[in-house]
Every structure is written in C-alpha cells, then in structure tokens.
C-alpha cells in the first residue's frame, strides 16, 4: 500500500466519536444546532480525509461555538470574519479541508461582505450557514433573514427591514455549489454535507435551524408531520419536481417562467420541470420559491457546477513563474533592478 492508501485505510476506521472534542456542548437543550453537529460528525469520518487535515472556522454567535466541539483543528474568530480567516487558511494550504460554521447574523449581516467575496472567488471552503432567522447569542433581536414585521426585543413595533434570501445572494455572488438543508431532516442534511465536501470550490449550505428559545417554530411548516409534505419540495438532479403527501403534485413553468403547481393527473410528464443542478436560471427560479405561501420551498442542491478554484489558479501561477523565471533566491531578489558597484578607492 502507498502512504496515501494507508492513510485512507486508517481514516476509514474513524467514527463520529473521533470528531467529538472533550468540551461540553453548551447550546440550549432542544437547539437545532445539536442536529447539525451530529450530522457533520457522522459524515466526516466517511470522507476519507485525515482528521488532522480538517479545519473548522467560525465567527461569533451560537453557531460559531461549533469548532470547540469538533476534535479537528479549529479557529473561533471574530464577528463576521470566519469566511475571511478561512480564505487565508485555504489559500495558504490548499490541501486542507476547510469548513466554516456561521449564522445568519455572522454571515449575512456583519460578515456579508466577506461571504460574497469568498463565493465569487470560488475558494474551496465549505460554508454551513445556521439560519435561525434571529439573533440568539445577543438574546433575541431580529436578524437579516427575519421576516418583515417581526416583533423582537429590538423591534417592538415590528421589524421594517426586508430580509435577504441567502440562496439568492449566493447565486448572485457567483457561488458554484448552493444547497439547503434543515435540522430536523438528518438524512437529507447528511446528503448535502457530503455533496458540499465533494464539491471543488466554495460550497454553501443554508441550514434551516430552529432556535427554540427566541424563534421557536420558525420552520414548523417544513417539519410538522401533518403539513410538511405540502411545503417541502425535495430537489434531486435529473428527477421531476414532485411533492405532496401523495406525490401527486408537480412544478411547471408558465409562459412567464414563473413556477406554478400542477396536479400530476392533469399534467403531462413533459410539463413537470426536471431538476438540473447545472442550470442557473432554474436555480434562480427555485430560490424565488422560498417562503412563497403559494408554493413549496425547495430543499436539496439548487446549483452545482465545476469551475476552477482560486487556490488552484494561484498555484498554477506560482508553478508557471517558477518554471519560466526559476525559483527565486535571496541574492537575485536583492539584486533585481538597476545596480551599481562602488569600490573601496
């Protein structure tokens, strides 16, 4: 066996426990964060990545305590800057598997700028956005994803801010992998985490996460057994967009490219939109469906395309420079440009 194969064989033996640190988890009992942590710890041992090559980076907020609970390398940064810190780690060391755990405030409010730029650069970092649509750690103010009119401690008359949709923002920022999961659907969440890990380039997962203290039930329609089938549209590449308790409803596009619900009895097979992860136009249409009361909300992989990563292109430039100009030495560094000699006399 080569060294790599040995390493792979060894990592295969890893379990969720190997990725669990010795620190007590301090999220509120019942918090959706527990599920996200559990799914990440379940998926990571299956990826064949040596544990020492994994780095979790976070900013500030409930979500951002995440690195302390992972027995990997970890960096708990400052508010909003996780994506910037992660960018530096990955550009410096492209062989590392770099993950960002962040929240709606950290990622979209104070850190909105870095989020956009990480996506557009397509640095191979996996971002897990814990979207609970509220500020938890600062004890219940509205967040940039809170719905308009929300009554919170800082908006007693109702919030007058319009929310940002993370999926649309990611699409508009030239993201190359964009997905949505939810804390209460562990299987589906594991699937998107696995897909994100395999994606070369920035992978963005929005996770609907319930804050049972400050915003309980924000996603009830997507988790309550009674109603969720009517509100959840699961995206599968190459499969028609079908949902409903009896799998009897589909999504088709009308002549204005607007999605609408159609009963499968009435529609022909060709009417139902077939999901294509590489179709950005479709991804934009699907993103628009989010929280539209007349339509189901999509979960799964919205968009996934291959594009060269930033660090890949960077390494290419370095290799090219060394190949054509030769590896620099201190001497030729210092003596570059016009020089002249002054002798002793």
């Amino acid at each position: 066996m080569t060294e790599n194969e040995i390493a792979t064989a060894e990592t295969k033996k890893l379990t969720a426990k190997d990725f669990t640190s010795d620190q007590d988890v301090r999220w509120c009992p019942g918090c959706g964060d527990y599920s996200i942590l559990a799914q990440v710890q379940r998926v990571l041992p299956t990826l064949g990545i040596p544990r020492e090559n994994v780095v979790f980076v976070a900013g500030i907020g409930c979500s951002s305590r995440f690195p302390y609970y992972m027995n990997t390398y970890g960096f708990h940064g400052i508010h909003g800057r996780a994506t910037a810190i992660a960018s530096g780690i990955k550009v410096a060391r492209p062989e590392l598997s770099v993950w960002v755990a962040t929240g709606d405030g950290d990622c979209l409010s104070i850190g909105g700028n870095h989020f956009v730029h990480l996506l557009r650069r397509n640095i191979d970092v996996n971002i897990i956005l814990f979207n609970n649509r509220i500020y938890g750690l600062t004890k219940g103010q509205y967040s940039p994803t809170s719905e308009k009119g929300k009554i919170t401690r800082s908006s007693p008359y109702g919030s007058i801010d319009n929310p940002v949709d993370p999926i649309q923002l990611a699409l508009g920022s030239s993201g190359t992998f964009i997905a949505r999961g939810i804390d209460r659907d562990p299987k589906q969440l594991q699937y998107v985490i696995e897909r994100a890990s395999g994606h070369k380039g920035t992978a963005f997962i929005e996770v609907y996460q319930n804050c049972n203290v400050f915003n309980d039930g924000a996603y009830a329609q997507y988790t309550d057994k009674e109603v969720k089938a009517e509100h959840v549209l699961t995206l599968e590449h190459g499969k028609p967009l079908i949902f409903g308790k009896n799998h009897d409803k589909g999504i088709r596009l009308n002549k204005f490219f607007r999605p609408e619900i159609v009963s499968l009895d009435q529609a022909g097979d060709e009417d139902i939109v077939v999901h294509d992860e590489k179709n950005k136009h479709l991804a934009l249409v699907l993103a628009e469906m989010t929280d539209d009361p007349s339509l189901p909300t999509p979960f799964g992989v919205f968009y996934a395309v291959d594009k060269p990563t930033y660090e890949e292109e960077y390494v290419k430039q370095i290799e090219h420079a060394i190949e054509t100009e030769g590896r620099g030495t201190l001497k030729d560094l210092l003596e570059s440009g016009n020089t002249w000699e002054i002798s002793d006399n």
């Binding site: 020492e52 800057r81 910037a84 990955k90 730029h117 201190l330 440009g337």
Partner: protein, 618 residues
C-alpha cells in the same frame, strides 16, 4: 563650496557638493516619472541622494490648477545625504501653477527653468497671476530661464507619425534631457529605460528618446546657460548598490523574511495610499512562492493573514492609518490566539481620510494604545527607505520568536522617498529560526517556552488538533475559560511576554556627545532631518545629540538612563506630541515637544532653529 575648472569659454563648469532640484508641473505632466528617471541616473553616477515625491490625491486634477500641481524633489551630493533638501537650488516649472505653488521652496537666487509655453493666458488665470511672472520682473531675485519647452519638443518630433497630444506629452523628457546637460549626467540609463518601457510602441519610444536628446542638445548649443554643474560621486561604503523607495525595501524585506525563515509568505491586503506599492511589488514575487491576497476590505486583509498564520505561513498585512483603525479588532484577535503576524502601517495625514498622499506620524497612539482590552503588541518604526528592509526582517523575527503580532510603522515620506541602498550580502542576514510543534504527547496549545511564547502547531500535524479563538484561554490547555483569576493571569502574562521582547532589542544608540545640553529624540521618518540638523549643530560647536528610537513598545532598556544625561530633551514629531506623552508617562521626565502637522516633513532648518532657540533660553 565651488571650484572653477578648465572649461571652454562661455560655459563655465562649476563643481558643487550638494544640489537640490525640484520638478513641478501638472499631475498629468509626468513629473514623478521625470523625477524618478533623474534619480536613477543620479544614483548610477554615484551620488548619495534622497528624494521626496509630493503629489496631489487627485489622479488627474484639472490641468493648470494649483491643487493639481505634482512635485518631485531630489537632493544629491558628493557627501552623505540625509534629507531631500530644505529648499531647492533649481526649480523646473512646467506651468504657472507649478511656479506659484513651489516658489517658496526655492532658495533666494535659485534657478527657475520655466516652460514659457505653459504660461499662456488661461494657465496664468488658473494660477491666479494677473501678469506673466516670467515677464513682469517679479522673479528678479532668481535666475530665470524661460524656455519654450513645448514648442521645442513639437519641432523636434514633427516628423513622427504621432498625434499632437502624444508629441506634447514627451515634453517632460525634453526637460529631463536639459537637466542632464545642466548637471553633467549621462543619457544612456534613461534611453535604456525608454527602450524597454516603450518596446511595444516604437513611435513613442523614438519620440521620447528624441525629446530627451533634444533637451540635452539644447543646453549644449544654445548659450543661454553660462554655467554647467558637476557633482562628484559620494564616498559611500564599498559594495553593490541599488536605489530603493521605502515601499520597495519593505517588499524586499518581507520576501527576505520568508526566505530566511523557510516559511511560505502570505500578504493579505487592501489597496490604500500610500501603502499600495508594497502590495504591487509583492504581487510580482510568485517565483518566491509568495502569496498576495488582495482582499475585499481592510478587515479581510488582516483576517486572511491571521488564517494563513494559523496554517503556518509567515503572514503580513499592509495598510495606512484608516486601515489600521479597521484592523484593530483583528489585531486583538491575533494577540489572543498568539500567532505571528506583521502589520505594516504606512502612515499618512489623518484623521479620517485626511491627507492621503501626505506624510504624518500621528498613528503612534493608535499603534500602541489601540484595540479593546489589554492587548499589547510590539511596535517598531523604520527610519529611512533602506531601513524598511532591515526593520521588517526584525519584526518578522520577533513575531515568530514570541508568537505575537508586531506593528511596524512607516510613513508616506520614507515609503515614497528613495535613496541609494547598499545591498546586503544574503549570507550576512541571519536565519529566522522556526519550530513547529510535533509531539502529541507533550503538546499543550497554551503552554509556554522561556520567552513566554506558546507553541505553533499547524493543521496537518497528526495528534495536535486543537482550537484557538478570541475567547479568553485557560493557561496551558487553551480551553475557553471565564475564570476571573485566570483572566487576570493571562492579561499579565501577555503583557509580560511583550515586555520580555526587550531582551531582543539592542540598546538605544546616541549620535553625538554622551551628555550635554540638548538630546533630540525622534522616531520614524524624521530621521534624516534630525540627523542632518544634529550634525550641523555639532559642527557649530553646540552640545547637541540625537537618539532615534526604532523600538517604541517596549522601549529599549537604556532609554530612561540616556534621557537623564541631557539638560533638555527635544522631541520633534509630525503629530501633536505622541512620543512626548509616552516618554513622559514612562520615565516621568519633562520633555520639550516640537510639533508640525502640515503633511510635510521637517526641514533641517526648522530643527536647527528650534534647538538654537532652546539653547538661547527662548
């Protein structure tokens, strides 16, 4: 000192020891280029020199206006040069605005070489002249040469297939050629440069070459100049030289630090005047495996650098004062996670956007006292363009040895100013030792070595998986800790660590008498003016010495004792007295503050006059 030598009749050749020339024109006239070409050639001739580019913040301010004037001053000599000169001996003025703005920087009796074509009715009006100063006798106290530079250039280039606009643009090379004639400089270095620069445009290449030669020949064949000047090479220490600006030297020093430490280099930076040239320079060094990351903002610049440091790079971030203000929270993070990081602040006039292209040293408080909480970092300042090289290597060495951020201050004056630089022998530069933690049996993230530094354990090392972050850390284990006693212990430990850096700081040196009437204490880019003034004062028999502080936090161990040996401590600063406050707070000794905050460096004369006043008891 002037000596006549044998020369043909009509044109006398005079030898001067030192000359200061100021080029001035519209910001679109190419004065910075003209100045830097004159500088390169002058360096190659072997003079010692200092330069001072003085340009507006606007890229192309409206032509002919006072605020659009761009200047470049160079002082060169056959002896050591410390400053670009208080006042110019020669002023090249391409238009009336350039004359008006710069005339007060010309010494009485100095030479004015004016492009008379630039003095048309419109430009005179824009500069606020009612009559043409070249003709109305108002310049009687100067030696004025009114030369139709534009016309002479267009005549020389009329046969070339270029537009009139392109032809006129070559007039700065005509002026440069004329200056080469006046000061006996060879044309070849600039001709070579033109050849390379305009390799893709043979017509422009020819135009600029012809203009340069035409300017030179004009000096030779017209007999309007009765004197030509010679400045012999300076007696500089033997060795190989190149000309560097402070920003260039900083970039070279950054790459050298990486080579000396064997670490891959990383710069996270956002463009800002006057620091951007460091980013530009470093972005060319891919073949040194150096990575520049042009971030989306100042905060991402430093955050990415902190990430790279965590991953095992020698990491840097470069900026100016407003950028440091934005980076302060992240500097605090670097203090808490105790990772090596060098933050370079090329200071400019503040507050806020202030005077972006002008120099100042008002960020000392921000460097030492910035940040929330008790967040000590090592603070250093470079004193000359060439000193930026050695200072940043030193900063890198301290950062790695003590696992700490180091803030290195430069300023617009030395960043853009240039001087001949003795290239060090690479073998003479000592290596920067680096040790990464490897042993899982003994590894504790916040354990300490004898320098109070914690171990540097980088991702990819099996068994050393650990977490760092901005929350207070438990001593030794590095786990999050809210323990009150631990917090105080850690605050004291972090300060003790930085104060311990004094072990690596050389004792403060003093230039001049070991005790006496006045000690001039300065820091940063004022070095040239303070040293020159001190030398003049010593020559005059005054009891004056000069100490220039490179290590501002912590101070060198012997500084307090030095201060006690002089009757008066004079602290000249381009701020309202920041070092003054720190010295007084630290050593409880009174000091005399001397402040200038005009976006301009001190002149030697200002310092001399101030010291003389002090000595006279005024």
């Amino acid at each position: 000192m002037e000596t006549n030598t044998d020369t043909p009749p009509q044109v006398i050749e005079k030898t001067l020891e030192e000359v200061t020339v100021r080029f001035a024109g519209d910001s679109g006239d190419g004065m910075q280029l003209t100045g830097s070409q004159f500088t390169k050639t002058t360096a190659l001739v072997g003079n010692d020199l200092e330069t001072f580019p003085d340009y507006p913040a606007e890229i192309r301010a409206p032509a002919g206006t006072l605020f659009g004037v761009s200047g470049f001053q160079i002082s060169f000599a056959s002896h050591d040069v410390y400053t670009p000169g208080d006042r110019a001996d020669v002023l090249v003025a391409m238009n009336p605005a350039a004359l008006k703005v710069n005339l007060n920087m010309l010494r009485p009796g100095g030479i004015i070489i004016a492009n008379s074509d630039g003095f048309d009715a419109k430009n005179l009006r824009l500069a606020g002249y009612e009559t043409n100063p070249l003709e109305d006798g108002s310049l009687k106290g100067y030696e004025v040469y009114s030369i139709p530079i534009t016309k002479l250039t267009t005549t020389a280039l009329e046969k070339l297939p270029l537009s009139m606009k392109e032809i006129v643009r070559s007039k700065n090379f005509f002026a440069l050629g004329l200056m080469y004639w006046l000061f006996n400089r060879p044309l070849e270095p600039s001709l070579e440069w033109i050849k390379k620069k305009f390799a893709k445009n043979p017509d422009l290449q020819e135009a600029n070459s012809i203009a340069l030669k035409a300017g030179y020949n004009y000096g030779d064949i017209t007999h309007i100049f009765t004197t030509r000047y010679r400045v012999e090479p300076a007696k500089l220490p033997a060795g190989k030289y190149r000309n560097v600006t402070g920003n260039e030297a900083m970039a070279l020093g950054i790459v050298a630090s990486c080579e000396l430490s064997g670490l891959p280099g990383f710069l996270g930076s956002y463009p800002i005047t006057p620091a951007s040239d460091i980013l530009h320079e470093l972005s060319r060094y891919r073949r040194f495996n150096f990575r520049t990351f042009q971030a989306e903002d100042e905060i991402a610049g430093i955050s990415s650098a902190i990430g790279a440091a965590f991953a095992g790079s020698l990491a840097f971030t470069t900026t100016s004062g407003p950028g440091v203000a934005l980076k302060q929270e992240a500097i605090g993070l670097a203090v808490m996670v105790e990772l090596p990081l060098v933050i370079i602040n090329v200071q400019r006039g503040g507050p806020s956007t202030g005077l972006p292209t002008k120099t100042e040293q008002a960020d000392l408080f921000q460097a030492i006292l910035g940040r929330n909480g008790e967040a000590p970092v090592v603070v250093m300042a470079a004193k000359t363009p060439g000193d930026c090289f050695h200072s940043v290597i030193d900063a890198s060495r301290i950062a790695v040895k003590y696992m700490t951020p180091v803030l290195l201050l430069s300023d617009g004056y030395i960043a853009n100013g240039s001087e001949p630089w003795l290239i060090p022998d690479p073998e003479s530069l000592s290596k920067i030792p680096v040790e990464f933690a490897k042993n899982p049996e003994t590894f504790k993230p916040y354990s300490r070595n004898k320098f109070n530094a914690r171990p540097w354990a980088i991702p990819g090392t099996p068994g050393l998986e650990h977490r760092v972050g901005g929350l207070e850390k438990k001593h030794i284990t590095g786990n999050v800790s809210y323990d009150p006693v631990n917090h105080e212990f850690m605050c004291r430990l972090r300060r003790e660590k930085i104060e311990g850096v004094v072990e690596d700081i050389p004792d403060q040196e003093v230039h001049g008498p070991e005790s006496g009437d006045v000690l001039i204490v300065g820091w940063g880019g004022t070095f040239g003016a303070l040293r020159q003034a001190t030398e003049y004062l010593i020559e005059e028999g005054k009891s004056v010495a000069h100490a220039h502080i490179k290590y501002l936090y912590p101070f060198p161990r012997n500084l307090g004792e030095i201060l006690s040996r002089y009757k008066t401590i004079l602290v000249p600063e381009l701020n309202l007295g920041q070092l003054s406050v720190l010295l007084q707070a630290h050593y409880l000794t009174p000091v005399e503050s001397y402040n200038k905050i005009q976006g301009l460096p001190f002149t030697t004369t200002e310092i001399r006059e101030k010291v003389n006043k002090l000595l006279a008891g005024k």
